[in-house]
Amino acid sequence: MSGVTFEKVSRTFAGRPVLNDVSFSIASEEALCIMGRSGTGKSVTLKLMVGLLKPDTGSIRIHDRDIVNLDEDGLSQTRRLMGFLFQSGALFSPFSLNDNLALPLQRFTKKSKQEIDALVQTQLDEVGLGNDRYKMPAELSGGMRKRAGLARALILQPSILLADEPTSGLDGVTAGEIDDLLLKLKEKGTTTMVIVTHDICGVRRVGDRLAVLDQRRIIALGKVRGTSSYRLPDTFRLMRRCRRLSNRYLHMW
């Protein structure tokens, strides 16, 4: 079964096309990394997947269910299968860390208060924030917010995790910690992951495949080979074939 499928998806903003006829498919439990320059539609792709944006044309299927024409209830049900880690963490600022994580559990599960408390504590321990449970989002550093955002995204044990630049703006050590968390999740083998990133080390460690977005479409899509090796992924070769655009990316690798 396919986790996420894009079929000829196009999207424009104020007359400016951002995605044009984009098609790709992500298998269940696969980790796809998406790279590309700023403004090439990476975050838009993620927001289309979770239904925050609607495509102008094309279809988007989540677990083989077309989400483009779903009503609010249908979309809400589909979203419960997904976790979304926003670039800034996007923690709900009036709520403490504890309440941010407990909110979806209170709404969509029949767990008791004690069970919810225990689950929140476990989840926060997993991301190393067990002692910061009652802090407000404003009291957390950038790295802590991202880890908290990841904990919240995973609290309902989603089958699909969408992460928007999970390591951007972080130092190497903290970025490595976030990658460790994603890798740990991948090793469990229960979650499909779509990670938008600029961090090639993260791609090598976590990704199964890499897609490169440019000029409103995917210009390269291929396997990331040998996550532990420093050899270039197959995608690099794909990119080299893309004569017009490859030079822009060579310095990135």
């Binding site: 979203r79 979304f84 926003f86 800034s88 996007a90 709900f92 600022s93 009036p94 979806p104 709404r107």
Partner: protein
């Protein structure tokens, strides 16, 4: 000119749809009691010092001004009555509405716009939680409940300010002042004008939430949402007040005398 009219009509139309959505959702579960309680604290309790001190100052100044006029006609004994009638009927409700529009309207507009810009609203939506119910409805309910209570406080503060001003000039006793102040005040003078501020509260929360919830353009958008919230809600309060005063006169003819 035509584009300005278009923009205004578009604003009214969008606001109307937003209001309809708010009214419809307000009666559907889940009821965000915790958020409502939190907002009552934020909107009501934290506005109290501003409302009370402003009411006291306005009451004091109003008495000083009316005194100089009424003395000319030998009607200085009417000062407490004029003070209380003007406060209960109009000054208290309107000043409370405008003060809350300034303090709370800007706060709601900026807070929601900040949440929109920081993707917090998107994050709530992605969690399948209805962001409108979680963020907008509590503001509206809290404003509707808090405004009449704040109006009672501003009325009391205004009467106290008036007494202090009058006492400093004429040595009038509190007992006599209150007797004169409430001689013409009936329930019809007090209840309808106080309750009309619930509508002011609805307007403030609705308009500010709309500007905040639909904000775009990053931090510039946050500033714009805060400013527009205050301007539009103050203007709408004054315009609505005209209609409400006529409605109160129609429903309670005694108050029109």
């Amino acid at each position: 000119m035509l584009s300005l009219l278009n923009a205004f009509l578009e604003f009214i139309g969008n606001l109307g749809l937003f209001a309809l959505r708010a009214v419809r959702r307000a009666f559907l579960p889940p009821f965000e009691c915790r958020m409502i309680w939190q907002q009552i604290g934020e909107i009501g309790w934290r506005s109290l010092p501003l409302v009370v001190s402003s009411g006291f100052a306005v009451g004091l100044v109003l008495t000083l001004h009316t005194r100089s006029t009424l003395v000319r006609f030998g009607a200085e004994s009417m000062i407490p009555t004029v003070q209380s009638l003007s406060f209960f009927n109009e000054i208290g409700p309107l000043v409370a509405g405008l003060l809350v529009a300034g303090r709370v309207g800007a706060g709601i507009g900026a807070e929601l716009a900040g949440m929109r810009v920081n993707e917090e609203i998107d994050a709530v939506e992605v969690l399948s939680v209805d962001s409108f119910k979680l963020l907008v409805i509590p503001q509206i309910v809290a404003c509707i409940l808090a405004l009449p209570i704040l109006t009672v406080f501003i009325d009391v503060a205004g009467i106290n300010g008036g007494f202090l001003a009058e006492r400093s000039v004429s040595q009038i006793s509190l007992h006599l002042y209150l007797n004169r102040a409430f001689s013409l005040v009936g329930w019809a003078t007090f209840i309808p004008p106080t309750l009309k501020t619930a509508i002011f509260g609805f307007i403030i929360a609705l308009v500010s939430s709309w500007f905040g919830y639909t904000a775009v353009d990053g931090s510039v958008g946050v500033g714009r949402a805060a400013t527009n919230s205050v301007v539009a809600s103050s203007l709408l309060i004054i315009m609505t007040d005209v209609i409400l005063v006529k409605a109160i006169f129609f429903l309670f003819p005694d108050t029109a005398i």
